[in-house]
């Protein structure tokens, strides 16, 4: 059972209040009328499916009903951070060590999760993903 921190409600809530809505940070093609079939198919159907760190969009469907993003490990199910729409993740597969340096709490058996974005200012600076 996930225990998810909603970045709008600022509270941890149980998984059942939320719905997973797939990969985060998808960009609709800027000029849909002039995309090739290849580009349009890629946008519609092709998703990242990593074994490890993944960024996904969730909605707090029976809470504030707002969308936000989660960085989560798809093997241990550890939630590494949650952040509002429009922001970039601070933890990515390229720099997994960041969370150790900054002392993000480790998951307990992969079930207990820590959702809050760490308070540290350095953490909130944008990093390339």
């Amino acid at each position: 059972m996930f225990y998810i921190f909603c970045p709008y409600c600022k509270e941890h809530r149980e998984e059942e209040e939320f719905h997973a809505r797939g990969q985060a940070h998808l960009m609709r093609p800027a000029d849909p009328d002039n995309t090739t079939d290849e580009e349009w198919g890629d946008y519609l159907f092709f998703r990242n499916n990593p074994r490890g760190i993944h960024h996904e969009m969730w909605v707090h469907s029976v809470g504030c009903r707002k969308f936000f993003n989660i960085t989560r490990n798809t093997v241990t199910y550890e939630i590494l951070e949650t952040y509002p729409m429009g922001e970039q993740p601070t933890i990515t597969a390229d720099i997994p060590s960041v969370r150790h340096e900054q002392g993000v709490q480790a998951a307990d058996g992969g079930w207990q999760t820590v959702g809050a974005r760490p308070e540290s200012k350095a953490l909130n600076e944008e990093t390339s993903s």
């Binding site: 998984e15 890629d42 998703r47 074994r51 989560r72």
Partner: protein
């Protein structure tokens, strides 16, 4: 290979069953094979078996990072049916059902295929319209399928609650009589034993760590036991297909989700058939051992953890109790999860890729078990000839760019 028979059983009884032959060898990898199959589950082993048996390609290796049939083959709810809506899918699954019928004899291995029928319940007017449409489509494709009334359902499955008191009263169902269940482990073991006897090397504990690709052609695989060469490589890795595709630099339109199942304590025979409901979202059958075998939907998020979430268990059991109120106090014995590779149109991918000689057979999502022999057969034909088999051809990865999708969300419905 020692053939199994009733006489053999009697003969070995005198030796206290201590002298049975090993079912397959544990060979050291050769340097070169004609074909490498990555993934030693049901589909991979079936592919290897048919390659050796029907298409004369005997220099084959099956590379498996764990043990044979240890993934979804061992984790599914063993339902076999072919009542899919579209012609392409109907042909594929029906080809498989035809092979199921003679499989025990063909493999000389009892896969316990039991054609006890499958009911797909309808609880709303729209359910019934969809069921009628699907049944008509099935009949046009030569698949036995019929619409049955609640009274007929009661005769088939007396334990079902068909009363109007139910929260979602049952209005009818589609009924495929030739569908049923099989013993999942035996399917993997039977194909493994058959393939091994024909000279296929089954390489367990051998993990593929990369592909050897030059000038757009696959030349072999890197493994933790050294490099193995082959100019044809077929990847049949279910939930981990995306991981393999990444190694080859290919993107697949797959997302891997946990799908879980449960079995109850063993009960005396109570269920005659397999009952599925898209609407209340659950499905149930009873194994020969007596356990109720129960399943439902996937977890909504990506996961490779081979376990499912508690909310999903709760929803699953709600659905079962809705259909069979008498099961409300049955205790569950075990619960587990498998990683299914779901495709946007709920149909598999059997396809060539941009890399010559590299093939993928994946995307079976929640319903791959029923297709094990058919998938293996058409994929083997494709690997042997270098050209996709006519039944497999519509399932090319190109369909996600051409738009020729085969939307089976209705027939795939509740995960199975």
């Amino acid at each position: 290979m020692q053939r199994y028979s009733g006489f053999g059983l009697v003969k070995h009884a005198f030796g206290h069953h201590e002298n049975w032959e090993r079912q397959w060898r544990n060979p050291v990898p050769k340097k070169r094979y004609d074909v490498i199959i990555v993934g030693g589950g049901g589909h991979g082993l079936a592919t290897a078996y048919y390659l050796a048996k029907e298409f004369g390609v005997k220099n084959v290796a099956v590379v498996e990072k764990g043990w044979l049939g240890g993934g979804n083959t061992a984790r599914n709810t063993t339902i076999v049916r072919s009542n899919y809506l579209w012609d392409e899918a109907g042909r594929l699954y029906n080809h498989s059902l035809d092979l199921w019928k003679g499989l025990s004899q063909d493999l000389n291995y009892n896969v316990m295929f039991s054609q006890r029928g499958v009911l797909n319940l309808g609880h709303t007017l729209q359910d019934m319209r969809d069921i009628q449409r699907r049944v008509h489509a099935n009949r046009l494709n030569g698949i036995d399928s019929e619409v049955v009334t609640p009274q007929q359902i009661k005769e088939i499955e007396p334990a079902l609650d068909i009363s109007s008191r139910a929260r979602y009263p049952i209005m009818g169902a589609s009924w495929q009589k030739s569908a049923g269940v099989a013993r999942h482990d035996a399917v993997a073991w039977g194909f493994a034993r058959g393939a091994d006897a024909l000279g296929v090397d089954l390489l367990q504990n051998t993990e593929v760590t990369g592909f050897k690709i030059r000038d757009g052609k696959v030349l072999g695989v890197h493994t933790n036991r050294g490099d193995i060469e082959a100019h044809t490589v077929g990847c049949v890795a279910a939930g981990n297909s995306g991981v393999l595709a990444n190694m080859a630099g290919i993107k697949l339109p797959l997302e891997s989700h946990p799908l879980q199942a449960l079995v109850s304590e063993p009960l005396k025979p109570i269920l005659n058939t397999v009952t599925m409901s898209n609407h209340v979202h659950g499905y149930i059958s009873q194994s020969d051992k007596g356990d109720l075998v129960i399943g439902a939907g996937i977890d909504g998020y990506l996961g490779y953890g081979q376990r499912g979430s508690y909310p999903t268990i709760e929803h699953t059991l709600q659905a079962i109790v809705e259909m069979f109120p008498m099961f409300s106090r049955v205790r569950m014995n075990r619960q587990w999860g498998g990683i299914v590779d779901t495709c946007p149109d709920a149909c598999p991918i059997l396809s060539k890729t941009a890399i010559k000689g590299l093939y993928f057979n994946c995307g079976w999502g929640t319903g791959g078990f029923k297709a094990t022999p058919g998938s293996g057969h058409v994929f083997a034909a494709s690997l042997a000839k270098g050209e996709m088999h006519p039944i497999a051809a519509p399932f090319s990865i190109d369909r996600f760019h051409t738009g020729a999708l085969i939307d089976e969300h209705g027939a795939a419905g509740v995960a199975h």
